[in-house]
């Protein structure tokens, strides 16, 4: 079942559209489920293109502005495509005290990117996050789903080297 006219989009293939429809179908009558729908759709596509948010709005019977309003409120949602690997650097207090600033400036320097941005070769997206709850290992970086503790400006490039 499709919920509205499916727009053409280079980053969404037919298989993804099927998954998106399933997500909407499972949630459209559940009160307050739009955040969960956005999260799952982002898991499928990697980010939330405008066309996708419009489609979700139609499927959930909500105004586009409501969907965009919710999505733009939460840091989890991205509106730009991401690099092949997501590097989350913790900018929480413990990591800050232990020198994450140096690590971040090293990464930015090495891969020609900014905080929150993606490297020109689409290899890494650098996401600052507020405390990963692993303060015991500060400073902490999570690449995809691997947690690396005790990183430093000299070690960080060796670690990232392994992610092609």
């Amino acid at each position: 079942m499709s919920f509205a006219f499916r727009p053409e989009h280079p980053d969404i293939n037919p298989d993804m559209w099927i998954q998106i429809d399933d997500i909407i179908a499972a949630n459209r009558f559940i009160k307050g489920s739009v955040i969960a729908v956005l999260r799952r759709c982002q898991d499928v596509v990697g980010y939330l293109p405008v066309e996708l948010m419009e489609y979700i709005a139609a499927g959930m019977n909500l105004a586009c502005s409501d969907v965009y309003g919710v999505a733009s409120f939460y840091a989890l949602f991205a509106f730009e495509p991401k690099g092949r690997h997501t590097v989350k650097v913790c900018t929480g207090t413990a990591c800050y005290v232990k020198g994450i600033k140096e690590v971040i400036s090293r990464i930015c320097n090495e891969y020609d990117m900014e905080e929150g941005g993606t490297s020109p070769d689409m290899r890494f997206t650098l996401e600052p996050v507020r405390c990963l709850g692993a303060c015991g290992l500060a400073p902490v970086m999570v690449v995809n789903s691997d947690t690396h503790g005790d990183v430093s400006s000299d070690k960080v490039v060796d670690i990232l080297h392994h992610y092609e």
């Binding site: 009160k31 307050g32 489920s33 739009v34 955040i35 969960a36 956005l38 999260r39 309003g69 919710v70 409120f73 939460y74 840091a75 989890l76 949602f77 913790c90 900018t91 929480g92 207090t93 413990a94 990591c95 800050y96 005290v97 232990k98 020198g99 600033k101 140096e102 400036s105 090293r106 320097n109 996050v129 507020r130 405390c131 990963l132 709850g133 692993a134 303060c135 015991g136 290992l137 500060a138 902490v140 789903s145 691997d146 947690t147 690396h148 503790g149 430093s152 400006s153 000299d154 490039v157």
Partner: protein
């Protein structure tokens, strides 16, 4: 799966306790918290299982993946019972030796023991390590002792006994009375008495009510709630069931941070297991009482930890706070009466019901009862989770439990309460852990983040850091917070950049007063605290930045020269070896020199130089 009656629960408890306490089986408790996972505990566990199976010892040794042990900096950690032998920093390759020497031949392997950073002595037993010896686990009573993914382990440690008692033997009023008698106050920050909150909600005649658990844990530097959920998720569920009975609610939600995948997974398993056994869902333990729990994942917004914002978020909207009253106890989620409690608050409830409010209140101070869990981190030797009785002094916590400051540096301050809190300097380290006493020195108890800072931390930069956090996380609904915090950040950035002016400090104070007075929610009302507390205790550092263009801690890049002080340089070459871009020229026994063309101003050399010789 068979649904429990009370009799079946008692029988299951006896069976499970027999497994946990079997004297003929050696129990290897390996930490499986987020921290130890990151340092490789899963490889250790796999190897243990492999080696034990290969030696046909499965009936003599039990390998348990526990939740967070608490001593995160020493991971991966394994504790062996009997004997309480504590091993730290294990690798998979250490496993065969430990099995042969310790498990088979009874000789603990001392090279993996904990070494006290002060006395340099090796300490084999976990209970004798100072980090653990001064603690009093209550909210964390099962940490390191059970497999958090096994409801049987939990039942074997008196799990769900309190639920049985509350649902079958107690009237809602009696539950509230017990919680009131315990003096338990909210552990999420504000410290509101839990029993009173429940009583307000109980009084409401509405038919639909909700119980919510706040597992958003947004304060950076805090990981108590994550650890509780990872180590003992059923304890939190029990707290929710008992709260539900007290106010007559039948639906609950746990609002959990999306950054905590392991905690969410373990809580999900706990809900599933409890539901299968009839300890959650319809007709719990045959009592006729129904209660369902769902997990709701946050999406990365600090303000959603605030109660009214959290409820908006569960409703699927932008997580913006609203003015109170009406209080959530009367009008909360979907406008129905709702109670919201923090993870740690709820984790204490089952013990209070089982052992009585008077038992809980037997430790603590006049106004703050029981224990408090802190996440001790930053510049301190023993980093990890610490549960101490209320009334313990901050000094005891940092020096006795935390083992003091590493690298022979001096203590400067401990930051309590995250972005809503403040810094406590050396002079006030004897302040006891107590809601009112901590507030008197300009900080707050907060949710329990305690970040220790040594002399190399710039307090102006810290204030800037927190203000950056606050202005970024401000939801934008009210002007004082949206605009005021931004103006404060600009002022602080200006000072850190070396262009601060004398009147900036007055302006910071004025703005702080206005924001505190007029902001809509707790985020803005407490947001200026980090500025005020650093101004109160470290005004000299602000003044050095403004009047002398100097950052005493050498952290503010704009005020640094990136030059080697020839008088102080000992020609050791530490800086040159540490520099990630080879910008430091040095040869044996020669002065170091920084090549400014190559230097990326990363401050690594400042951190590595032991002689403070880089200016």
């Amino acid at each position: 799966m068979e649904r429990f009656t009370v009799e079946a629960l008692q029988a299951a408890r006896e069976d499970a306790a027999a497994v946990l306490n079997n004297p003929d089986v050696i129990q290897l408790m390996v930490c499986g918290g987020t921290g130890c996972h990151a340092t490789g505990s899963i490889a250790v566990i796999d190897r243990l299982r492999e080696e034990i199976a290969a030696r046909d010892m499965n009936d003599k040794v039990r390998v348990v993946e526990t939740g967070c042990n608490g001593f995160c900096a020493a991971g991966p950690i394994m504790v062996v019972h009997p004997g309480d032998i504590f091993y730290q920093r294990l690798k998979a390759d250490d496993v065969p030796d430990i099995i042969e020497t310790h498990i088979i031949n009874g000789q603990p392997v001392d090279k993996h023991f904990f070494k006290d950073p002060i006395s340099k002595k090796k300490i084999p037993a976990q209970s004798e390590i100072p980090f653990f010896a001064h603690q009093m686990p209550r909210a964390l009573r099962n940490k390191g002792l059970i497999d958090p993914e096994s409801i049987d382990d939990y039942i074997g440690r008196d799990g769900y006994q309190a639920t049985a008692k509350a649902l079958l033997e107690m009237r809602p009023e009696a539950i509230v009375e017990e919680v009131k008698a315990s003096g338990l106050r909210g552990r999420g920050g504000a410290g509101f008495p839990a029993g009173m909150k429940w009583q307000f909600c109980q009084a409401s005649p509405e038919a639909v009510k909700y119980v919510l658990c706040n597992a958003d844990e947004g304060d950076p530097g805090a990981f108590m709630d994550r650890s509780i959920l990872e180590a003992d998720p059923h304890a939190v569920l029990e707290g929710m069931i008992i709260a539900a009975k007290a106010i007559n609610a039948h639906q609950g939600y746990v609002y959990a941070r999306t950054e905590y995948p392991l905690a969410i997974r373990r809580l999900g398993i706990a809900i599933e297991q409890a539901t299968e056994r009839g300890l959650l869902g319809d007709d719990i333990l045959g009592s006729g009482f129904d209660f369902h729990v769902e997990i709701y994942q946050g999406a990365g917004a600090f303000v959603c930890g605030e109660e009214t914002a959290l409820m908006r978020s569960i409703e699927g909207r932008r997580g913006m706070p609203r003015p109170r009253p009406p209080f959530p106890a009367h009008q909360g989620l979907w406008e129905k009466p709702t109670i919201l409690n923090n993870v740690e608050t709820l984790a204490n409830v089952a013990q209070i019901i089982l052992k009585g409010g008077a038992w809980y209140a037997s430790v603590g101070t006049e106004t703050s009862k029981g224990t408090k869990v802190f996440a001790l981190s930053g510049d301190v030797n023993n980093i990890g989770l610490v549960e101490v009785p209320m009334g313990t002094s901050l000094r005891q916590m940092i020096y006795d439990v935390g083992g003091g400051i590493p690298r022979k540096r001096k203590f400067k301050a401990v930051q309590l309460g995250g972005p809503s809190g403040g810094c406590v300097p050396e002079a006030y380290l004897d302040t006891p852990v107590d809601y009112e006493e901590i507030a008197k020195v300009g900080a707050i108890m907060g949710s329990g983040g305690a970040i220790v800072m040594d002399e190399k931390t710039c307090m102006v930069d810290m204030a800037r850091f927190f203000m950056d956090f606050i202005q970024d996380e401000s939801c934008g609904k009210c002007t004082p917070c949206r605009e005021g915090t931004r103006r404060q950040l600009e002022l602080l950035e200006k000072i850190c950049d070396g262009s601060g002016e004398a009147h900036d400090l007055d302006e910071l104070e004025r703005l702080s007063a206005v924001i505190k007075e007029t902001a809509l929610c707790g985020l803005g009302q407490t947001g200026p605290n980090p500025v005020l507390s650093t101004l109160r205790y470290f005004r000299d550092e602000y003044e050095a930045h403004i009047h002398e263009g100097r950052c005493p801690a050498k952290r503010c890049v704009a005020l640094l020269k990136f030059e080697v002080d020839v008088d102080l340089c000992t020609r050791c070459g530490m800086c040159a070896r540490a520099c990630p871009v080879d910008a430091i020229e040095w040869e044996k026994k020669q002065l170091a020199r920084i090549d400014k063309e190559k230097c990326i101003e990363c401050l690594t050399c400042y951190d590595k130089c032991k002689f403070d010789a880089i200016d």
